[in-house]
Symmetry: C2
Amino acid sequence: MSTEMADTDDSATDDGFVARQSATLFDSAQPLVLESGETLGPIQVAYQTYGKLSPRKDNTVFICHALTGDAHVAGRHHEDDRKPGWWDGFIGPGKAIDTNRYFVVCANILGGCQGTTGPSSENPVTGKPYGPDFPFITIRDIVNVHNALLDHLDIEKVLAVVGGSLGGMQVLEWAVSRPDRVGAAVVLASGPKLNAQGIAFNAVGRRAIYSDPLFHDGWYYGEEEKPRFGLALARMIAHITYLSEQSIELKFGRKLQNGEEFGFDLKSETEFQIESYLHYQGNQFVDRFDANSYLALTRAMDYFDLSEAYGSIADALSRANSRFLVVSYSTDWLYPTAQSKEIVRSLIEVRKHVTFRELLSPFGHDAFLIEQELPKLEALVSPFLARTYTDGRKSN
Amino acid sequence: MSTEMADTDDSATDDGFVARQSATLFDSAQPLVLESGETLGPIQVAYQTYGKLSPRKDNTVFICHALTGDAHVAGRHHEDDRKPGWWDGFIGPGKAIDTNRYFVVCANILGGCQGTTGPSSENPVTGKPYGPDFPFITIRDIVNVHNALLDHLDIEKVLAVVGGSLGGMQVLEWAVSRPDRVGAAVVLASGPKLNAQGIAFNAVGRRAIYSDPLFHDGWYYGEEEKPRFGLALARMIAHITYLSEQSIELKFGRKLQNGEEFGFDLKSETEFQIESYLHYQGNQFVDRFDANSYLALTRAMDYFDLSEAYGSIADALSRANSRFLVVSYSTDWLYPTAQSKEIVRSLIEVRKHVTFRELLSPFGHDAFLIEQELPKLEALVSPFLARTYTDGRKSN
């Protein structure tokens, strides 16, 4: 695997702000061979780092983001940034993943639209965005690219790989396909495969995009208008699955958006607060996400199946060489606890070191991202990382 | 309430086939006053009857259909009909609701598109379909129209009102707003209100329709193409909520539609069987349903709230004068058992006669419609109706 042409845009800043970095990996002569058999190269990877790599290079924590996340996992780029990174409550100096101690790396995933090569990136052959010509990618391809990034950063082995949801699937893939590179695997709100109901929701989201007349079979980049409606709708559907019935009921219930009386107006789409919230979520999303990326990444999610790839979940996990922390959330119905337990049972079967906890939370699948739920998660992740770190130093 | 201009198209047939019937109720001089304050008339009501009304007129079972159902609840209209009515396994001679004994009536609901006045009906003022000018309707309006149908049929009181899902909401409304007209109320897979998650799914379905460019703000009747994509998408979303995770997993799991190998083709929308199934369901639906009706009826469903209308569920149900049978299904997550229990607790609180059972089923919300689940339901409904019937005859 070649890792040439590193072109870091910007080095880590010392002023408390975080810098966007980028590497160009692979090239057209030595492209990445994808799971589909197609090839891709060069591949640009956007990433960010936090803390300092130890002289022994044994303190790297690699964060795998979820479906629509990005490399900006914590901190701010500028003092006037409205919001910090998506897991800022969990990662930073003195936080659950303590950047005074660990060197944290997070990279945008292959197929995404936040700096890593994806459908909206320029196809070097045509000089135009790949669009629907972007090759089909899988979780394994995503992990392969991030492995190449580690090579590029000259890091042989990471202390831990940590991720939730689609990020958790990447963690499992890391542990199984790169066993000697992973000290510990932290799998949050995830599973060894997406169940059929999850595929169904993804399918409906994709349908919304495909049937948007502004989608133009994926060739919308040069157009004035993007397939906003389809993508927003896909996001609205998915967003419902990220919440629990309980959390929607607690937060919104049947409360109306304006006043206390029904409007009896069929033209109003946002009469109940939950409707207004979903519309807002959908509209926000289309400003930061690309429809072709959404198609590609939900398909990568559908395809991931540890047992299909290796015969059984246990056969897959028998290849791992790391310790595991598996965490599920009691009201997560997208990746229910039963899925985490399947992983745990298989790990025990093949005699791997595993810690498992189902956290009680009303917040459904998204709980691992929600500020007020982070202390419970910290109480599990922080000592788990510390123990892995200490044990690693002892054995070296 | 006026019930003039009865124009039965077709009398009941004696050849084993069922006939479509129709009544014109209300008129422009004496219109129905809707809950919104608007008025509507005349109103055409499509209905079908099964069995014979007893000389004492005490054997009527009124069936309330669900969101997208119709009056054709059982039997065939012609010998070459591909399928019988939607609850044919449950209603007929010798069946759970035995038409040798009971006189069954089922009518299409107000706002629907199967013969009862709805947005696709002709607006007498303009001579064109109502479209988005159709007034906002509620469950109470639907029940008021069906009450007028009873007047028209000269039936003072029904032995029972029976319905599942949105039909169950109608049953509750019947019991509460027309207490002296209902002997027994059978509420299946339903609740005193839709929870916020249900409103959320309805909202996304409506969004799909509104954002279909062929929707033309509801004025699509004269157009060559209807908003098929939007309506099909709405149906696909809703259909997922009618199934359980367990039933999708059992029936489809991660099975592929063609062969055993992944296609790595992002253009394929039906790679997994569950996707193909949902697309099929969506496409079938648009041939028989009207988008404006879908909007109107999902809003009626959102608005229904026994406690909002009467102060509390118990206050609402204290008005009832019937006995109740409440049935929920263990894997129904659209109207979970907890909602049925809320009804039951309130009924007990106000000292009404109630029988409750949660039926174990893998089939989710749709279980009450599924052939193989009907024997369990029959074991509850059949004796409940028989007892009500016998007790009623004793007391008269």
